[in-house]
């Protein structure tokens, strides 16, 4: 007998007796205030992320220093031109030298300060982990109240890869000392930029 058949047969034989109905999950009231942008920003900061409004003269003002200090910028958004074309990347390893990646989030989540990406926003999934720093464009209109609302979105059933980022890569495996940039990005900055505005 194949292991598949053996496992399924054992499960059928050992099925717990009794009825265990699948409960309806009620819609819980959001635990955030009316001002979703403020709530999102507050929680993102607590998770180690940064948040900024676009500057009036230079929309990327808040991260200009970072960009200036970077040799390789990989941009997946029309708002800014990088010098590493993600559509020309043959393999993820070629992104090892990226200093900054700029991507747009599908949506944000106020409850946690998270942003969602799928393979479509990232172009090459690995860029969100191999880059040293991540700049995320988020339309304030795209902020959802909570995680429950996020999981009602269709992306999770459609995307090949979907990921919620909440702040940067972090570890505290050594005596509880919190350190950013364990393996992935060292910083994550969200710029509140409406879609197609700049």
């Amino acid at each position: 007998m194949s292991s598949r058949a053996a496992t399924l047969e054992a499960i059928r034989k050992n099925r717990p007796s009794g009825e265990y109905a699948l409960p309806e999950v009620p819609v819980f009231a959001p635990l955030v205030g009316e001002d979703l942008v403020a709530e999102f920003g507050e929680r993102l900061k607590r998770m180690g992320g940064r948040i900024a409004e676009p500057g009036s003269a230079d929309p990327f003002e808040a991260v200009r220093e970072r960009l200036k200090a970077s040799k390789i910028v990989a941009s997946a958004v029309p708002e800014i031109e990088g010098n590493r074309d993600l559509s020309q990347v043959a393999q993820p390893q070629d992104l090892a030298d990226v200093d900054v990646a700029v991507v747009r989030a599908v949506f944000g989540v106020a409850e946690t300060g998270s942003v969602l990406f799928t393979q479509d926003e990232l172009r090459v999934n690995a860029v969100a982990y191999l880059a040293q720093h991540l700049i995320v464009l988020l339309d304030p209109a795209d902020i959802l109240v909570n995680i429950q609302a996020a999981y009602r979105r269709p992306e999770f059933g459609r995307a090949a890869y979907a990921v919620l980022h909440t702040g940067p890569s972090a570890t505290a495996d050594i005596e509880g000392v919190l350190i950013h940039g364990a393996q992935g990005v060292r910083s994550l900055t969200v710029l509140l930029m409406p879609r197609g505005a700049h």
Binding site: E19, P23, G48, G167, D173, E175
Partner: protein
């Protein structure tokens, strides 16, 4: 009731105090946020704790001695841990801090208890129809272009993954933390194959380089001090043995591991949740290493315990809210990743592993342990675990959850583990999927006694203990903790003959109420609902 217990009830005052002031650290190295605030997300400690200065260097106590199938002597290993006060105190403090962070996080969610009920019911339902959900998951995954494999046990999982790697000509594999692969002994198996396995979670990497098992399901190296880590890294990566700065150590590991990640031919992750309706594997990590493992190499493998199934995506809205808050007191992990289809030009494989789970499903008293989402909350709250360290259990799973699932893997070897508990019930109270952990611990004691897996001495104690221990509510009242969160253990709970664990172990600062004093006060006075 001691002042200490009262303190505990008030909560707030307790939050500021350390159990062991001597492990407080003056300088604070944790990251600061945008507004300059001290950050405590992920597994970050809410205040600096360190196992003392270099002057007081103390060798790391090692775990339980493994002698084939012979019963693990957890108490012996625990004694050695207790005899290393710097390690023991820092460990105790650190996990108690995580437990307190969990409390704060859960108090912010009015529907917390409802979420636990829902999570427990969703898991019960899924387990009661696991065959159907597995078939649905498999069909979905296949439709998504994923290769699905089934492994009856750990050995088959290892052989299967090995064959996959060989067929792809892989020379190295990067992996993220997975308790399932620990359970399968995957790393040990691979050691003989010539294919290099590289752990990419910092804690897990530390453990791999030190040739030690993880001591905690979420924080694999939590029993180690920075000095221990500095020593391991100096030996294996050539870092400066005198530099024990946590940032230096973490950065060295990043620099050391990065080329290995880029060169790896294959990547492997575990699985926190597997969604039947979409064929999705969900991982929850803080470092982003599961995403590197899944998104950089050409070959991508996900090892999945068959109990990880949940029916629908919407159920993640329940479990994701519970997991990290229970585990670390953080609202969510830094990364919640959903792997569904292979990247263009790459292969994605999923291995569904049974390894005793289908059999456990048929154990009337123990099947609900399959609901476990491996958050580690029961470990953080357990007074025995905090004082003895995860490696003292000599098993893949330690702490309360270990006590109830380890014997299903090997009754003789893990026959003594269910006795490493004070039966205070705190584990049950924090469990996000409402497993009746302490009742299962007691049930295991009975099973093991009946099957003569335990020595006669302990069987005698069992009889004596039965009276009180069979009524957990009475027992909790006995140890005088309203929420059963035990910062300290009352003296009698540790030293009375009802407990096999506390015998001969000196615990610092335990309130000195005796069992008989308690008995007079509670059972004879107010009564406990007898």
């Amino acid at each position: 009731m001691s002042a200490d217990d009262l303190n505990l009830r008030s909560g707030a005052s307790n939050r500021d105090g350390l159990i062991h002031p001597e492990v407080a650290k003056a300088n604070d190295e944790s990251e600061r946020g945008q507004d300059g605030q001290r950050l405590t997300h992920a597994e970050g400690a809410s205040r600096p704790i360190s196992a003392a200065p270099k002057a007081a260097r103390e060798p790391q106590p090692r775990g339980a001695k493994i002698r084939g199938d012979r019963p693990i002597d957890q108490a012996e290993a625990a004694e050695r841990f207790l005899a290393a006060p710097l390690h023991q105190k820092a460990h105790d403090e650190r996990l108690w801090d995580v437990r307190k962070k969990r409390d704060v996080a859960t108090h912010g969610i009015p529907e917390w208890e409802e979420l636990r009920e829902l999570a427990s019911a969703i898991k019960a339902h899924t387990l009661s129809r696991l065959d159907e959900y597995l078939e649905q998951f498999e069909a979905q995954a296949k439709a998504n272009g994923v290769h699905v494999h089934w492994a009856a046990d750990g050995a088959e999982h290892n052989r299967l993954v090995h064959r996959l790697l060989k067929d792809h000509g892989a020379r190295s594999l990067i992996k993220s933390k997975s308790m399932l692969t620990e359970e399968c002994g995957f790393r040990h198996y691979m050691a003989g194959t010539g294919i290099e396995v590289i752990e990419t979670d910092l804690g897990e990497r530390i453990q791999q380089l030190d040739d030690e098992e993880p001591s905690h399901v979420v924080m694999p190296a939590v029993h180690k001090t920075r000095l221990d880590v500095a020593e391991v890294f100096a030996k294996t990566m050539g870092t400066d043995p005198e530099n024990d700065d946590a940032h230096y150590l973490a950065e060295s590991q990043r620099m050391h591991t990065r080329p290995l990640i880029l060169e790896a031919d294959a990547g492997l992750t575990g699985c926190n949740f597997a969604v039947a309706e979409t064929g999705t594997v969900v991982t929850c990590t803080n470092e982003g290493n599961a995403d590197l493992s899944g998104n950089v190499p050409r070959l991508q493998i996900h090892s999945i315990g068959i109990e990880k199934l949940i029916p629908r995506t919407e159920h993640l809205g329940v479990f994701i809210r519970l997991l990290s808050r229970s585990a670390l007191g953080s609202p969510i992990t830094q990364y919640t990743s959903h792997f569904r289809k292979p990247r263009p030009g790459t292969e994605m494989h999923m291995v569904l592993v049974d390894n005793g789970r289908s059999e456990r499903l048929g154990m009337e008293e123990f099947w609900t342990s399959l609901k476990c989402i491996r958050c580690g909350a029961c470990m953080n709250t357990c007074p025995v675990y905090r004082r003895s360290g995860g490696l003292s259990y000599g098993a893949t799973y330690s702490g309360p959850i270990g006590l109830i699932i380890d014997p299903t893997f090997n009754k003789r070897k893990y026959s003594t583990l269910p006795f490493s508990s004070t039966m205070n019930g705190s584990c049950t109270n924090v469990c996000p999927v409402k497993i009746n952990i302490h009742e299962q611990i007691f049930a295991w004691r009975k099973v093991l006694a009946e099957e003569h897996q335990i020595p006669l001495l302990k069987q005698g104690m069992m009889k004596a203990a039965g009276q009180v221990l069979s009524r957990p509510a009475a027992y909790r009242a006995a140890i005088g903790a309203a929420d059963s969160a035990l910062r300290h253990l009352p003296r009698f709970a540790v030293y009375n003959p009802l407990n096999t664990w506390g015998k001969g172990r000196e615990m610092p600062e335990t309130p000195r109420q005796s069992f008989h004093a308690w008995y007079r006060q509670n059972r004879m006075g107010k009564g406990t609902g007898q």
